[in-house]
Amino acid sequence: MVNHELQLDRTFAALVDPTRRAILARLEQQDGASVSDLARPFAIKLPAVMKHLDVLDRAGLITRSKVGRTVTARLRPEPMKAAMDWLRRYERFWTASLDRLAAYAETREAAARKAESEENDT
């Protein structure tokens, strides 16, 4: 499904940026943080943080809620889980397959060496 692909693209694109990863890591520690709280550790201005939050929001990685003048951001794990499931599916397939490939090639190598040494003996 195209939507599913688009979602994965957005998730991975959102995770490329170190500031956004730091924001996610912060929200992982703390369930809900205000925008100014989130901006404090970074040497960037509030509007720049807002832009990063927009990207994370579009990727569905956070939710924002506004009470009075305070905007609070929270982590939303579902897209991250989908991205991880996607990564793991390929990783499982190839990790196990390559182990089996190695075992098979090593059997063939042993057989080839045996055949070669028998040739040398005759």
Binding site: F12, A25, M80, F93, A103, Y104, A105, E106
Partner: protein, 153 residues
């Protein structure tokens, strides 16, 4: 999309490993993540040639993947496109590169799978977001245990 890199050191010469990678006899011995059978292995290992492989897992699930060879350079390098045949939700066509390098004990195999629109994500990967993923995964796993499995639907 993203990329996956795996490295294996194999006690076999590159020519033998390469043969196992591209021949139906070879592929039918290793393709698939468990000891379930390979049901179909067809290859035409030349530039532009196609391959198709189908395997059954021990849980009964059957999966088919297919693609096209973009480079076949024995015994060093094979590049092919790769996709699941029935994966409507998947990321579409991926690029698989397998490189073989002779080493003292035999062969060092480097496997890379990447998407065609890979550049930004690959850069991200190199900058280390995979560590963040692991960390977040642990967090969510703990959260699931703490709040019940239906929390993360």
């Amino acid at each position: 999309m993203t990329s996956l890199t795996l490295v294996r050191r194999i006690a076999a010469r590159p020519a033998i490993v390469f043969d196992a990678l591209i021949t139906p006899e070879g592929i039918s011995r290793w393709w698939g993540p468990d000891d379930g059978p390979v049901l179909l292995a067809e290859t035409d290992p030349r530039v532009g040639g196609k391959y198709r492989c189908r395997f059954r897992m021990q849980d009964g699930g059957e999966y088919e993947s297919f693609g096209e060879y973009l480079e076949v350079s024995p015994p060093e390098r094979v590049v092919m496109t790769w996709r699941w045949a029935d994966d409507a939700e998947g990321p579409g066509e991926m690029l698989v590169t397998i490189e073989l390098r002779p080493v003292a004990e035999g062969t060092e195999l480097t496997f890379t799978q990447s998407g065609f629109q890979d550049e930004p994500t690959r850069l991200g990967h190199e900058r280390g977001w995979s560590g963040s993923l692991d960390k977040l995964e642990r967090h969510f796993a703990e959260q699931r245990v703490a709040k019940g499995a239906d929390h993360v639907a």
